[in-house]
Symmetry: C2
Subunit: 158 residues, 2 copies
């Protein structure tokens, strides 16, 4: 863990996170509800230890981490039936490995593009930020619905 890494700080104290932010805890990762709930169900799956590329993990860790990613994406699909899922691990700004798992819907005005152009606009345009953030009051229910599907999927797997 490095305390100058924002994701290391975030996962150091998962118990402190409210239930509308911490969706699920896996052996190797934690599922956090994303900021931009215009993409309803958008989650960020953060590796619980500090590592910056898949190749830095052992074979067993990498397979488990990707299994946790796949389960989370599937849970979002089951909860919200998006048109398409986007799976992205970038790390250009924060290299600590984290997957953006982003459901995309037909009513999205940028449905054919990655979400990063509107997300960047949100930094300077309050109207875009407000649209992308969605209704803060719905976050708890959204987290609950993803969690319900993760519970079913992980119980089915054992």
């Amino acid at each position: 863990m490095t305390m100058d890494c924002p994701y290391c700080r975030k996962v150091a104290d998962l118990d402190q996170l409210p239930p509308e932010e911490l969706v699920w805890t896996f052996p190797l990762s934690a599922v956090l509800l994303g900021s931009w709930q215009f993409y309803r169900g958008y989650c960020v799956l953060v590796l619980r230890k500090h590592a910056t590329e898949l190749s830095a993990l052992t074979d067993a860790e990498r397979r488990q981490f990707l299994e946790e990613m796949s389960l989370t994406a599937h849970a979002i699909e089951l909860a919200f039936h998006p048109r398409k899922m986007n799976y992205e691990m970038l790390g250009n700004q924060v290299a600590h490995m984290h997957w953006h798992l982003i459901p995309r819907y037909p009513d999205d005005p940028e449905s054919l593009q990655a979400i990063w152009l509107p997300v960047e606009l949100a930094a300077t345009d309050p109207a875009v930020a407000s649209r992308l953030r969605g209704d803060p009051a719905s976050r708890r229910e959204t987290a609950d619905l993803v969690r319900l599907q993760l519970r079913k999927l992980t119980q089915a797997a054992t």
Copy 2:
């Protein structure tokens, strides 16, 4: 296979692809050298059958497909030592599953962002397209260098 899917058409005839485009053939996927070699070593890993989400694969297929993705990303890292790898499976325009495996370098003017903003500009701005495309004459060597690392990694794994 559906013949109105561009990736189905592409993988239907892998033998027809030149060696600077077809980098590697795995059991479940094919590695194609990406169009935008400003990101030197950028590859697109295409599933050889038509499926649009990880959840549509069997457990064994999903694990194998993600193993092939991880091996390819590792080979790009070993060949070109990027600052960071970007791993992205979007499918907003073509839903057939394909991973964009994009090495990012320190001299990239948009190094903190995903590549999609400049890639979109390239559609209408020939100067951006030319910068992103890189030197066509270097594609063969780039494909060879990724292939060399994939050969070492897959031999080490057996």
